[in-house]
Amino acid sequence: MSGEILKVKNLNVVLDGEEIIKDLTFEVKERETLIILGPNGAGKTTLLRTLIGLNPYSGEITWYTKSISYLPPQELFQRKGLPPLSIGEFFGFKKVTSENVLTIFSAVGLDPSLLQRRFGAVSTGQFQRMLIAWALVDQPKVLLFDEPTSGIDIGGQETIYSLLHRFWQEWNLTILLVTHDLNIVWEQANNVLCLNRENLCYGKPREVITPKTLEKIYGTGIKFYEHKHN
């Protein structure tokens, strides 16, 4: 792990008169995977949108790179009632070369013939891999990803997380991930930020995620079992 890539200090976000994020401070280092945990309505999506300048805020957000890509949750993508847009044309919106598109398609395990298919006419799993390809086609340094596996079956979830892990390893990618999946926190996070409008815990998962913290985050007793090998 090397230098800082993001520094957030005393961040407050108020939307329509409602305080969504209160006095949040954290930082992200290069090649770090930060997972943001929290119940629905905790301000996770608001935090990601604020970090890329889509929401007004007070406090400090300092990025040490401009090479940032963001993927909203899949449910927020309009897939029905669109014009007959091909997936290839969707990638054309980013003004990248077709060689780059083919490379990233191969990296995410998608067949190039999919480029001719209509935008909405692919399975949920393929769609999510296609979105990852879109986010990474111009080789960003940072990926902000909101609920990458929502609506995807368990097999598909595995694929998405291993893909992200591979890009993290091979492309030196810094990842900020919003998820509800605690397993992934143990497996992939360097740091975890527990959010429920304010900072409830922040640090290395094994140090900060405890039954007591989980109860604080989700408001109910959650037990976890850590399987240890000899």
Binding site: P72, F77, Q78, P84, S86, G88, E89
Partner: protein, 252 residues
């Protein structure tokens, strides 16, 4: 000569309206052109009474209409289609308060008998402006239709593009009332776009298909008008609908 002028207008204006229509259809706004067309009726009425260009009369009214829809949308949070209905009904009501009965038909269904060179030139230049403006905003607005956040992360200034988009709609409606009247402007944008959607596999085919079907509908309608002397507006709309019905056989 008037007929040649009309054909030139049909080619450029019909094509551009169809092209813009494909974008409007993708934004679920294809029907907005209808109420906006109705809204131009007071302007057309004034133009017919005081003998000036109908598009010139229509333009300020459609701009007023768009401004009020935008203002009501900001302040009431009511859906755009509801606000459009309010504004369009008001436009029609005002028109029939003072439009002389003999002027009603040309105002409602179009008239190409008074087309001259300056009107043709203005229509062609403005159609070209709308075409190139639409081309500029096309991809960003389609992307915004898929995900507004994704578009914003590509540094797309959606407010500016939206303004340009509304201006293009206003211009096409104001120009379109000349050939199809205030009653049927939606047909100029909506039907060619639907036809293009039926036969297209990708965005290029779809957008330029809208242009092609828009142009063909206007030209075919005008040719039939020349041969039969039936009203021009309905003929263009029927030609457009015929292409739409044929496209259903080739739906992809």
């Amino acid at each position: 000569m008037e007929f040649i002028f009309a054909l030139i207008i049909g080619l450029f204006l019909g094509g551009t309206a169809g092209y813009l229509g494909t974008l409007m259809l993708s934004q679920r706004m294809a029907l907005v052109a209808g109420p906006l067309g109705h809204l131009t009726l007071p302007g057309i009425a004034l133009a017919l009474i005081f003998h000036f260009d109908v598009s010139l009369g229509a333009f300020p009214f459609v701009i007023f209409g768009i401004f009020f829809i935008w203002l009501f949308e900001m302040n009431t949070k009511l859906p755009m289609e509801a606000l459009t209905a309010i504004v369009f009904a008001t436009g029609v009501a005002i028109t029939f308060l003072f439009l002389p009965e003999e002027k009603t038909v040309p105002a409602l269904i179009g008239d190409i008998s008074q087309i001259n060179f300056p009107a043709t030139l203005i229509s062609v230049v403005l159609s070209l402006f709308v075409f190139f403006a639409t081309k500029k905003i096309y991809s960003p607005m389609i992307l915004a239709g898929i995900s507004e956040d994704l578009a914003k992360t590509q540094s797309i200034n959606l407010k500016r593009y939206h303004f340009l988009y509304l201006l293009c709609i206003a211009l096409i409606v104001a120009l379109g009332v000349r050939i199809v009247g205030g009653l049927m402007t939606a047909a100029l944008v909506a039907i060619p776009a639907c036809t293009a959607k039926n036969v297209s596999m990708n965005l290029i085919q779809y957008s330029y298909g809208g242009f092609l079907f828009g142009s063909l509908s206007c030209i075919l309608g005008m040719v039939v008008f020349k041969l039969t002397d039936l009203p021009i507006g309905p003929l263009i709309v029927i030609a457009s609908t015929s292409f739409f019905l044929i496209s259903l056989l080739f739906k992809r």
